[in-house]
Symmetry: C2
Subunit: 148 residues, 2 copies
């Protein structure tokens, strides 16, 4: 459904770091919102934020890196939980202020143990969880539960 | 692929305005990023921003409303171009700081006349347009080209 580069060749990513950085309009905090979408199914997994270092590391390594606003640090998705995102392609939107990452999610994207973070929906006047927990957060993070 | 409410019944939206507003963490500017995804295909169409009024109008009318940061005004998507978004469902993410709208896009989402805004991808060391212009911007906006 969403096109992407060939599965194993990421040379189109690593070789385009400077043109991609030039195309992105980072906000006043040096950040840009990044949507992670499962490349084959189109499932929207999560939204996180990237700074320049996160973009560079993502393109260099082929694995999604973000900037943690709470920890104020570069964050390699899955560094604690093992739930990494292998990046197939990257898209920049029309005005350069949003990034779309087409990824292969290993395991689950959400720190709650759900496959994606968008699991709360209005039903009968309340918010209900419409996606199940498929992996215990304890199994992902031990008892500390820091996310990532 | 993405589940949603029945096509014509939006009572689950209008009746949940207060619980949805309570679940959203608006940023220091009173805004939250909102991803619009085509409900049936899973295509990520665009990212825009919502304030409280935009959320309320979206749930009340069933059509996506955003807050235009450039115009500093509530923006009914398609108010100029006619390219409206009928909202099938709304999702709030795990920490309440992103909204996902599952929509039926009328026509094209992007002011450039492409079906979605994420059309720039790295190819051979440059950014290339990977989605075609399907509707002329002049046809959408006349000669003024204001977006929306």
């Amino acid at each position: 459904m969403t096109e992407s580069g060939s599965n194993n060749d990421r040379s189109h990513l690593a070789g385009a770091t400077s043109v991609i950085l030039d195309a992105i309009t980072f906000d006043a905090n040096g950040l840009v919102p990044a949507i992670a979408q499962q490349a084959d199914s189109g499932e929207v997994l999560m939204l996180a934020w990237m700074n320049r270092d996160a973009v560079e590391e993502t393109l260099k390594t082929g694995f999604a890196h973000y900037y943690s606003r709470s920890r104020k640090a570069l964050w390699r998705k899955g560094e604690t939980s093992g739930q990494t995102q292998s990046v197939r392609d990257i898209r920049i939107d029309c005005d350069g202020d949003t990034v779309l990452l087409l990824v292969d999610q290993k395991g689950v994207a959400c720190h709650t143990g759900r496959h994606n973070c968008f699991f709360r929906a209005p039903r009968d006047g309340s918010l209900r969880d419409v996606h199940p927990v498929v992996t215990s957060p304890d199994a992902l993070y031990g008892k500390s539960g820091d996310g990532g």
